[in-house]
Amino acid sequence: MTGLLQGWLVARREMLERIRSKGLWAGTAIMLLVVVASIVVPSVIASDTVTRDVGFAGTVPSELPAAIADQGRAVDVTVRVHRYEEVAAGEEAVRDEDVDVLVVDARRLLWRGEADERLRAVLSGAIQLVAVHERAVAAGIDPDELLALVAPVPIENEQLGIAAGRSPDDEAAAYVMSLLLLVALATYGQLVLTGVAQEKSSRVVEVLLARMPARNLLAGKVAGIGLLGFAQFALTALAALIATIVVDSVDTPAVSGAVLAWVVVWFVLGYVMYAMAYGAFGSLASRTEDASSVAAPATTVLIVGYWASLVAVGGDPESGWSRLVSLFPATAPYAMPGRIALGVSTWWEPLVAVVLMLAVIAGLVVLAGRVYAGAILHGGATLKLREAWRGTANSTR
């Protein structure tokens, strides 16, 4: 009971102190901005029609400007037409970037540098159409009949993706979720690391540990940062959802509620596992500035684990490798939600992965607790893991 109360008090302090710091709000604002911008900006760019300036010189078939306007409209290109009496004047306009391209005698396209592919397609399509029209008239064929004959058959494009029955949207969702989990675990793991190192270097930890066991302090800290982190992430996800609905982006990954629930589960499990490791490493550092280098092993596992799961699941989510990384605790937080999103995991695989993960967490709580207790009161240089483990650490006076 006392342990729970103390743990809660520690967690509450962690949250209150961070909520009051400008850093948290700045970080949240930047995260929201990046997420919202990454959804809104592409859709704004994509939906905006482009305006291009086209110059004409020499012979210009009377139907050509209208045909170009038609073709352009089909691909969201608005064409403004300019006429030049002399080819040289037109070339000058191209060089001065007054126009994007000069059409000479409806046969040559003069660009300043490389051709704009979209505009080139619009222009050549229109020129072909006008030419066919002219030839039909010359051969006495009803041009409209001919155009109906040569009208293209619509061809459908379909993306198969890497797993049967799943769209690339699901793949995108799986990819985004793994990435978000990496960012979340790294960010909040780092907060635990520096939090522990700061308490050690400011020496307040001795005052705290005189009134409560180390496990209450560490558990409370991990819980407080985790809750706050979860809230921050939920807020970001909500902002992303709202932004998606507002801009009605077509390529929003369709994520089911069940998949989201699993992401939450893996966030919690992955965070607790890595936070325990970071807490233990943080206690070894003699100064806050050294904490990151001391914790390099944990960070390496975190990042290499992400790449391993990305390579395995991104390559073939049903391979033996993918199964392995989605069950292995260090990589499971990235690989398992991805495989669940792709619908390739069997019903029992996530459960086995959760059980394995819980076992590792239980082991880490004991191991990290011992390292932490052995190292946190040590005054001198940064400790080695082995020294802290043996508890030879607090050999002061």
Partner: protein, 295 residues
């Protein structure tokens, strides 16, 4: 009552505590003395479970100490430490709440202590905005917020100016008078001699002297004569059973060797032409300390 019973602790090759036995009693100030590295901090940390003794035991009111007992203890570590960016009052209330007290209850204690130590107007400042002296006061309040039954302070007088030292001494005496057991370490032997009823001296992890200061002094057969005089310094060394410890212009400290003998004292007095003051005393704490540690 706090009891150390044959407590030992070893860190690799270093023996920090070697069969320590002593007690600190309620309502009294116990001074914990010893050279640097003697084991004082290790002994104090073992009361709070920050160090676990390898053998023997540390007991409070006759029972082993657990987390519940520690919530009734106050501790000021040698390495002072607080959250530098947290506000003074909020931090103290937090530390009190960790001892199981409600925030309103602990808030009242904190306000009383802040008022008493002249920090009431700094209650909402960040700790790192305070002067070194004021931070020390906040650190002291941190040890007192739960109105502890046992107060343990590691070098509470180090780094204090004379005024702060007097304030600290008065405060510790008050806490003890109110019924708490107070154990503190110090190198300021004169201060301990004035302040403490009991002393414990530790050296190389072993308790070399422990008990009430009065009893310890009474048990030592040796006596000293502290004398001030006018005129020329007499030749006391010529007297039997007298050894000159210290002699300066107009004052001297003499040791009476062998059994304290009234005749010797009278002889010294007779030998001195014009006495300003004359004191017949047991050894000072400083002398007891040097002898205990040298043995």
């Amino acid at each position: 009552m706090l009891e150390f019973d044959d407590a030992s602790k070893r860190f690799a090759a270093l023996v920090a505590l070697d069969g320590c036995s002593f007690t600190a009693r309620p309502g009294r100030l116990t001074g914990f003395l010893g050279p640097n590295g003697a084991g004082k901090t290790t002994a104090m940390r073992s009361v709070f479970g920050l160090v676990e003794v390898d053998s023997g035991s540390v007991r409070w009111r006759g029972a082993p100490i657990g987390p519940a007992e520690r919530m009734r203890f106050g501790y000021m570590p040698e390495e002072r430490g607080l959250y530098p960016r947290m506000r003074v009052r909020e931090q103290l209330v937090y530390l009190g709440e960790l001892c199981g007290r409600t925030s309103s209850d602990v808030g009242r204690s904190v306000d009383t202590w802040l008022e008493r130590l002249g920090l009431a107007d700094r209650a909402n400042d960040r700790v790192d905005a305070l002067s070194h002296g004021n931070q020390q006061r906040v650190q002291l309040i941190a040890a007192l917020v739960n109105e502890p039954d046992l107060l343990v302070l590691d070098e509470p007088f180090s780094g204090l100016d004379p005024i702060a030292m007097a304030l600290m001494a008065e405060l510790l005496a008050d806490v003890a008078t109110a019924g708490a057991t107070v154990l503190f370490s110090s190198h300021q032997l004169d201060l301990v001699e004035d302040l403490c009823e009991d002393v414990v001296i530790i050296d190389h992890g072993r308790i070399v002297l422990a008990g009430s200061l009065d009893e310890i002094r009474a048990a030592v057969p040796e006596r000293f004569v502290e004398i001030r005089y006018r005129g020329e310094a007499p030749d006391w060394a010529a007297l039997p059973s007298v050894e000159v410890v210290e002699s300066r212009e107009g004052e001297a400290r003499l040791r009476i060797t062998g059994d304290a003998d009234v005749a010797t004292v009278v002889a010294i007095a007779r030998h001195t032409p014009e006495i300003v003051s004359f004191a017949y005393q047991p050894p000072t704490l400083s002398e007891l300390f040097r002898r205990a540690v040298a043995a």
